[in-house]
């Protein structure tokens, strides 16, 4: 790489990292937190013995997983205004990503809850726990351990998917890179640079994942 390319790399790193810190990362964190809460509710609905309750969750999950995220994003940001509902770019992105993560993570959490042996529920009931208390104190902590690897997957996908928010004008990592690229006409350099920053973020997340797994694995045999 020649000198001017290096200069451009270093000067554009500022806005790109800024886009990551002010856009990509908070967008992913907020959407994941809201999406996970939604997912827990959906997972419990899916496990409900009441048919209509589990059907609602099933239909929701089916729609979210059966339609492209980009289309969901466009429906919310460009579609809803025709119904008189105007949402700013940032909240639009959070809503779309949360709803999307909710659908995917619900199945992960449902499977994790089902993976806890039935005897754990029985022991919890035996010592006098209610269903709710058995769930929160006995079942979910064990399900959490099982769901860390697949939920990490979901989160890492989400971080990269936030680049779609650039298409509804959210200032985030990729949009910053695009703007510098358009201005400097150095497309290859800027897009590779954006890819590199995404990769570094995901490397960080992977190490958080392994710390978390180690912590939750302290009570199982190796």
């Amino acid at each position: 790489m020649n000198q001017s390319a290096w200069d451009l790399f270093w000067t554009s790193l500022g806005p790109i990292v800024h886009g990551a810190i002010a856009g990509t990362i908070p967008l992913a964190l907020a959407s994941f937190a809201i999406g996970l809460t939604l997912a827990l509710g959906l997972a419990l609905m899916r496990l409900s013995r009441r048919r209509w309750v589990s059907s609602i969750a099933r239909v929701y999950i089916s729609i979210v997983r059966g339609t492209p995220l980009l289309v969901q994003l466009f429906v919310i940001f460009y579609g809803l205004p025709s119904l008189g509902i105007l949402i700013d770019p940032w909240p639009s992105a959070v809503v779309a990503f949360s709803l999307n993560v909710g659908g995917y993570a619900a199945e992960v959490i449902r499977a994790a809850i089902l993976s806890v042996p039935k005897g754990q529920w029985e022991a919890a009931y035996m010592i006098g726990m209610s269903h709710r208390r058995a769930l929160t104190r006995i079942i979910l902590p064990q399900a959490a351990r099982v769901s860390v690897p697949p939920l990490s997957n979901t989160f890492i996908s989400l971080v990269k998917d936030t680049s779609l928010a650039s298409l509804i004008l959210v200032t985030e990592l990729f949009r910053e890179a695009q703007q510098v690229a358009a201005f400097s006409q150095e497309f290859m350099l800027l897009y590779l640079e954006a890819a590199l920053v995404y990769w570094v973020i995901c490397l960080g997340l992977s190490s958080v994942q392994s710390v978390l797994e180690k912590r939750l694995d302290r009570y199982v045999a190796h």
Binding site: M126, I127, G128, R133, R137, I138, Y219, V220
Partner: protein, 268 residues
């Protein structure tokens, strides 16, 4: 301590037994088209030990699970100490079920300890979190119980760090810490390595001698003969024969009991 004459085979069933702790009448349970309990009657007096024996699939474990409300019977009644009276003709309320569970505590075949909690936390979960008894009191009690079964040094270990026999002793301590009136054992030694069975049986025997009321589902006939005050042979969802342990185990009256005992004594 024994409220009835153990040599009288009809006595344990006498509904009038004044000191009866547990009285079950006409208990029925089906899983789909499969009727696993036909009409179970049984009585356990205070301080008595009832051993349920019988082939697998006979319904003996289901009886135990109905007593703790882990299965809901379809019909019949369960009375505990004139305090809890459930008629399964109508589905019990949550409150009634909670009252039933409150009176008994179960020890499971596969221990079912909480793997994410330490030994001490496993024992405290019931009395501290559910029963909301004072922490200092329940902790002292839990440590004393763990000490008694020789596991006080393991109080901060996780269940996976213990042998099967140790885990089952924690399971027994967890049940005792609930201060139940009735202990229910579901094949407590069936998943243990043979050399670890003795420790657990010895502990259960000690508890029986101390006067704990128990219902034990077991395949350990020798243990049943020595520890139980009454043995009931269950087959096909019915109590085929019950009475004094020596009577039932040595001089069974029913052909099915004889066949079952023969198979256990001479497996090949």
């Amino acid at each position: 301590m024994s409220p009835t004459d153990p040599t009288d085979p009809t006595a344990p069933d006498a509904a009038a037994a004044p000191d009866a702790l547990l009285r079950v009448r006409g208990l029925r349970k089906s899983f789909g088209p499969n009727q696993v309990l036909q009409s179970i009657d049984l009585t356990v007096g205070r301080g008595q030990v009832l051993a349920l024996i019988g082939p697998s699939g006979s319904g003996k474990t289901t009886i135990l699970r109905c007593l703790n409300g882990l299965e809901l019977a379809d019909g019949g009644t369960i009375d505990v100490a004139d305090e809890v009276s459930l008629d399964f003709g109508t589905p019990p309320t949550k409150k009634q079920l909670a009252a039933l569970r409150d009176r008994s505590a179960m020890v499971f075949q596969h221990y079912n300890l909480f793997p994410h909690k330490t030994v001490l936390e496993n024992v405290l979960e019931g009395p501290l979190i559910v029963q909301r008894r004072p922490k200092a009191e329940v902790e002292a009690e839990a440590l004393a119980l763990l000490d008694r079964v020789g596991l006080s040094a393991k109080k901060d270990s996780y269940p996976f760090e213990l042998s099967g026999g140790q885990q089952q002793r924690v399971g027994i301590v967890r049940a005792l810490a609930l201060r139940p009136q009735l202990l229910l054992f579901d094949e407590p030694t069936s998943s243990l390595d043979p050399e670890l069975v003795g420790d657990v049986l010895r502990l259960i025997k000690e508890l029986a001698v101390e006067g704990w009321s128990m219902v034990i589902v077991t395949h350990e006939l020798e243990f049943a003969r020595e520890v139980a005050t009454e043995v009931a042979f269950v087959d096909g969802g019915r109590i085929v024969e019950h009475g004094d342990p020596k009577q039932v185990l040595h001089h069974p009256q029913e052909e099915r009991t004889r066949q079952f005992l023969h198979r256990l004594l001479f497996p090949f």
